[in-house]
């Protein structure tokens, strides 16, 4: 708890490598605190973290390809037949 004061400030070039671990809550507490201290005075890294958060949070609206409809319907028909005559 005390030795964190002796560690040098994080540089921006380090912060950009730690962002995902930070957003995932996977950074050691002392490192997370150093990162937050850095963000308080660094608009560039604050913007960067916001952008990474925006990327992570926005992709849920992308469409994902599924099975071709005829394959899907074939499977459901097979399920009906299978369960009727197991």
């Amino acid at each position: 708890m005390t030795d964190e004061h002796e560690q040098p400030d994080l540089a921006c070039i380090d912060v950009v490598e730690l962002v995902t671990d930070y957003l995932e809550g996977a950074l050691p507490a002392a490192t997370a605190r150093r990162l937050e201290v850095h963000l308080e005075t660094c608009p560039g890294c604050t913007e960067y973290v916001d952008q990474m958060r925006a990327v992570a949070g926005s992709l849920g609206g992308l469409p994902e390809d599924s099975l071709p409809p005829e394959v899907r319907d074939g499977l459901i028909a097979a399920f009906r037949g299978f369960r009727r005559h197991p």
Binding site: A11, L62, D65, L75
Partner: protein
């Protein structure tokens, strides 16, 4: 998926089966693609998996979630299919092969590490994106993002699709792909970093860091 749904499947409820297919097939295709050489082969593996689920649901003991069980079957089917094509490696090996240790941001964007005042700090800061209120997927960036994801190496693409597109938890991704927590985060980080870079390139949005410009290339060029 709740116990009630499993009961419905065992009872032969085709609607419950259809719901299950629609919910999981996109992610299953994503995962299968990491093991087999083509989209067609991935769809075949998914189809084969659903047939196995049909036949195995009565024997499913509920020691894992239904989702976990389905994806375990899928991985086995896809690995076997990939092995026939001499392509298949465990996902973790694919991930290791892809990891070139690339920096998340072009190092030229930062001041040198021996800079007197601001070592390793931004020389060209990221500037605020002109994102519409409706979000990144509302405008043309939607195509930029889709293209950036499609260009990712396979392991990164699979992880970002499962985590951020499908909304899986990190635990679910780790379990389905049999990778460590650390590996999962590295792949996610590389993938999100590349997508962020693609958006930034599209917006063309970088600004010179105002507090210090003596070390930037631009200044050197101007002097030259």
């Amino acid at each position: 998926m709740t116990e009630g749904n499993i009961t419905a499947l065992r009872r032969g409820d085709a609607d419950a089966f259809a719901t299950l297919i629609d919910r999981h097939s996109p992610a299953m295709i994503r995962v299968a693609m990491a093991y087999v050489p083509s989209r067609a082969a991935a769809e075949e593996a998914v189809q084969e998996t659903w047939i196995a689920v049909m036949g195995g649901i009565d024997g499913f003991e509920g020691r894992s979630s239904l989702k976990t069980w389905i994806f375990r079957i899928l991985t086995n089917v896809a690995m076997r299919s990939g092995a026939r094509e001499r392509r298949s490696v465990p996902f973790s090996a694919l991930a290791d092969a892809e990891d070139t240790g690339e920096p998340s941001v072009d190092p030229d964007r930062f001041l040198p590490l021996d800079h007197e005042l601001f070592p390793g700090h931004w020389a060209m800061m990221p500037s605020r994106w002109p994102t519409p209120d409706e979000g990144l997927l509302a405008g043309e960036t939607r195509e930029v993002i889709a293209a950036a994801i499609a260009d990712l190496p396979m392991a990164q693409r699979t992880v970002i699709a499962l985590r951020d597109v499908e909304g899986w938890s990190s635990e679910e991704v780790r379990e389905a792909l049999e990778i460590s927590a650390g590996n999962q985060r590295i792949l996610l980080h590389r993938a999100r970093s590349r997508v962020r870079n693609a958006i930034e390139t599209y917006y063309g949005a970088v600004t010179a860091e105002p507090m210090d410009d003596t070390a930037t290339k631009e200044t050197d060029d101007r002097r030259a």
